[in-house]
């Protein structure tokens, strides 16, 4: 206890030096916390976007469809979705089911043409799974056969407004070109960049007719009540609907995106780690100075009968106090910055515009604070400082007392 007291006093011998070292640690740690908050936020936003607009919690395809999803294989579709939907609805964890037709189409405004992702949605049931209806910011949801919903960004790029006339051109399941005219009934503004920039949505039966699918759909989307039990729901439903179909969770469908996320997370963590290593060099430097200038004092303590262990303990405690102080400071700064990012969000659109970063989020990132990470980061900071304090003091205690006393 007394050694702690002595260490505490020693820490404040050079208040400025202590503060500079502690702030170096705190910069490293707050960077770690902020980067973690932002990545958590980005992941959460991406997950929500995927679930709420793109896939729901699970998707059911005809066997073989998903493997070739990139080419939109309209020859591998679910021909009789009704029976499957009825089966799926019986599962206790299922909150909502809807069917969709997804296909590639070009949208023409009479002058320009853009490739888009077109969806035929079941207007009765879509809201059980997705939030498209709630995202209509102008005009109305789909009602008539010729109604079409488009994203606000696409509307801006193509010069569309409510009531604008457009043509959707695509190939049907037999490879024959087909086209249909629509009127823009509503503009949607989701938080998913893909939908706002690239998607057009029409009624399911219109899409089926356009693609000559009869009653077939490309996918059935499921929302569950308890997403923690998604895996068991997936197993149950797979068993329920039989081997002609396959069921994927939203995570499986977006594995590539979360791989990117993991990589980004790692690289951001590495940057923060480098900052922390620089801070650690600062601590070594501080401790080295503290030890060097106090070598005669170490000699005095040894003359009084202090053992090396006690002296090492004292210096390590000093390092630990500086580390704990810096880490605490870092956590406070990190949390404050994270809170700002979590509440206000960080708008990157000024830097990157509408650039596609390969991640289904918009350029305003709302952070998500993870307190366990903050605790771990704090402990990490303290442990690192203690470890790097050991080296200089070990060196000093190796001196004979007489050499330490004589040291100038």
């Amino acid at each position: 206890m007394k050694i702690l007291h002595l260490a505490w006093r020693n820490v404040f011998r050079h208040t400025r030096r202590t503060l500079i070292t502690a702030s170096a640690i705190s910069v490293g740690l707050s960077a770690m916390i902020l980067s973690n908050t932002m990545m958590n936020g980005a992941d959460k936003m991406a997950s929500e976007n995927i679930i709420q607009y793109e896939t729901g919690h699970m998707q059911i395809f005809a066997k073989g469809y998903y493997r070739e999803e990139g080419i939109f294989p309209l020859d591998t579709i679910i021909e009789e979705p009704e029976t499957i939907i009825q089966h799926v609805r019986t599962h206790r964890n299922v909150a909502g089911v809807t069917e969709r037709v997804k296909f590639q189409a070009r949208v023409n405004n009479g002058v320009d043409e853009l490739p888009t992702l077109a969806y035929g949605i079941d207007i009765e049931n879509d809201s059980e799974v997705f939030r498209i209806a709630q995202s209509v910011v102008d005009g109305a949801f789909l009602k008539e056969r010729e109604d079409i919903l488009i994203g606000t960004d696409l509307a801006r790029d193509m010069g569309f407004a409510i009531g604008s006339y457009l043509t959707v051109i695509t190939k049907d399941r037999y490879g024959t070109y087909n086209a249909n005219d629509f009127f823009v009934s509503g503009l949607i503004n989701t938080t998913h960049p893909l939908f706002d920039r690239n998607a057009v949505l029409m009624k399911l039966e219109v899409a089926q007719q356009l693609l000559d699918l009869d009653h077939g759909v490309t996918e059935i989307c499921v929302r569950v009540r308890n997403s923690a039990q998604l895996a068991s729901a997936q197993r149950d439903i797979t068993a329920l609907i039989g081997a002609k179909y396959e069921v994927y969770t939203w995570r499986e469908l977006n594995a590539a995106i979360f791989e990117i996320s993991g990589f980004k997370r790692l690289s951001q963590f590495m940057i923060a780690l480098v900052v922390l290593i620089i801070a650690a060099v600062g601590i070594v430097n501080t401790m080295l100075m503290a030890v060097m200038e106090r070598i005669p004092e170490i000699g005095t303590l040894k003359a009084m009968g202090f053992r090396n262990n006690s002296i090492v303990q004292m210096f390590v405690l000093e390092g630990g106090i500086i580390g704990a102080f810096g880490s605490l400071l870092g956590c406070i700064f990190g949390v404050l910055m994270s809170l700002y990012v979590a509440i206000q969000g960080l708008d990157f659109s000024q830097f990157f515009g509408d650039m596609d970063v390969g991640y289904p989020i918009k350029m305003i990132i709302k952070g998500e604070i993870d307190f366990l990470t903050i605790l771990l980061v704090f402990l990490f900071g303290v442990v690192v400082t203690i470890l790097v304090s050991l080296w200089p003091v070990r060196m000093a205690t190796r001196l004979e007392p007489v050499d330490a006393l004589r040291h100038v």
């Binding site: 007394k2 050694i3 002595l6 006093r9 020693n10 404040f12 011998r13 005669p296 004092e297 000699g299 005095t300 303590l301 040894k302 003359a303 009084m304 009968g305 202090f306 053992r307 006690s310 004979e400 007392p401 007489v402 006393l405």
Partner: protein, 229 residues
């Protein structure tokens, strides 16, 4: 009792071997107030350091209360210093961030004494050295003489049998030096603690009961006074 037999200590400076002690033999009895006198480089500090187990001899033996210190491990030497030997340094060597009270308390932290008892002992010894009013001052708030008093209190607080003082008055003016010497003499008589101090100052020698003269690493003189000043 301190017994020194055929003590040699060589320092290597580059390729040159420099003999600091060249066969020192002496016995210092319990309760003696002994000065080791001699010019700079005569080996006074080296002798004190070896007696105090801060340094090891090249050859020869030192016995403290019958223990051959040459046979002790580092840990045992630390224990011997902890329990039996107090040091007073020329430059006081107080811990600057601690108060007089806390500086004096340090040696007791290593002993298994109770906190209350420690407090009484620290206050008692600081009163003894005339610093009852200065318990909570830090070294930089005290004069050189006061700092050396704290150092003496620190050396004596654990009631060692031997106090080794290396040029204890060299950094003090003559009036303060006199006060410090009188204090050490008084404590020597009161507690029957053996004091061995090195000096090249005539004033200090005037106070000593016994003066061991050292020159070029050898004892050249050993005088006892019947009635010290």
């Amino acid at each position: 009792m301190v017994e020194v037999n055929e003590l040699h200590k060589d320092y290597r400076v580059g390729k040159v071997l420099f003999p600091a002690l060249r066969g020192v033999n002496t016995v210092i009895q319990d309760g003696e107030f002994t000065a080791i006198a001699g010019p700079s480089g005569s080996g006074k500090t080296t002798l004190l350091n070896i007696i105090g187990c801060l340094d090891s001899p090249t050859s020869g033996t030192v016995y403290i209360d019958g223990t051959d210190t040459g046979t002790l491990t580092t840990r045992e030497k630390a224990n011997l210093r902890k329990n039996q030997i107090g040091f007073v340094f020329q430059t006081f060597n107080l811990i600057p961030v601690l108060t007089a009270f806390e500086n004096v308390e340090i040696p007791l932290l290593l002993l298994d004494t109770k906190t209350d008892e420690n407090k009484d002992r620290v206050v008692g010894i600081l009163e003894e050295v005339g610093l009852a009013e200065y318990l909570h001052r830090k070294p930089n708030e005290m004069s050189g003489g006061q700092q050396q008093r704290v150092a003496i209190a620190r050396a004596l607080v654990k009631r060692p049998s031997l106090v080794l003082a290396d040029e204890p008055t060299a950094n003090l003016d003559s009036t303060t030096a006199r006060e410090i010497l009188e204090l050490m003499q008084e404590l020597n008589r009161k507690f029957h603690t053996t004091f061995v101090f090195s000096t090249h100052d005539q004033l200090v020698m005037d106070y000593a009961e016994r003066i061991i003269g050292l020159r070029d690493g050898m004892i050249v003189d050993d005088k006892r006074k019947e009635t010290p000043a």
